[in-house]
Symmetry: C2
Amino acid sequence: MSEQMVFRAIADPTRRSIMAMLAGGEQSLGDIAANYEMTRPAVTKHLKVLEQGGLIRVRAQGRERLHTLQPEALKSILDWLGFFSQFWDEKLEDLKQAVEADDE
Amino acid sequence: MSEQMVFRAIADPTRRSIMAMLAGGEQSLGDIAANYEMTRPAVTKHLKVLEQGGLIRVRAQGRERLHTLQPEALKSILDWLGFFSQFWDEKLEDLKQAVEADDE
DNA sequence: TTGACATGAAACTAAATGGTTTCTTATAAA
DNA sequence: TTTATAAGAAACCATTTAGTTTCATGTCAA
């Protein structure tokens, strides 16, 4: 679950779309795949990449596998953006610190 | 310069490293390439991807090409993160709005 | 307990990606 | 005006990626 895996995971538009969909709540592979032209195995692979990046959690229930968004994993991205905010706008850095303080 | 090109550009660790380096100021291809094991043409390709994502600007000076960081392009990423902050932490959304208000 | 259904796994393919080498062009400096 | 330097361009290669098809497995329901 390295930082790199998060960047990799969000690089693909289909995966970002899946994340947006899961923001609406837990969904099975079938539910998710119904929204795309591609086959289920293709969607499964995207879900695996998202899981490796820590962006979703998977839970088996009966013969289904339910996927839930894990948006906290996006903090790596926020950290990275924070570095550049030095050269851009100090407010992003402030926000980042606020979010982190919120963690405890 | 689509949103996708920004996500694609930052997906590669070498390119993120180049961005960090350029945060220190304008640099020529030679300057940048000196910091990597790979050949100059390889670095050139990375720079092209960064340029396509709007993350750097290139300016010719004599026989050199000077590259400067364009961190504003990272706003697409911030926007996208902002959507998920709904499901995570409202503070990120606040920050995003603050940054955008700052634009005028 | 048979059948249908949700998923996993494996083998394969096409295209994109990250890299190389070689060659050319433009500018600066001796 | 040669010569050296900075970079672009093109052709090529290996690996990864995003997708497919086919087959196997586990679970629910008739």
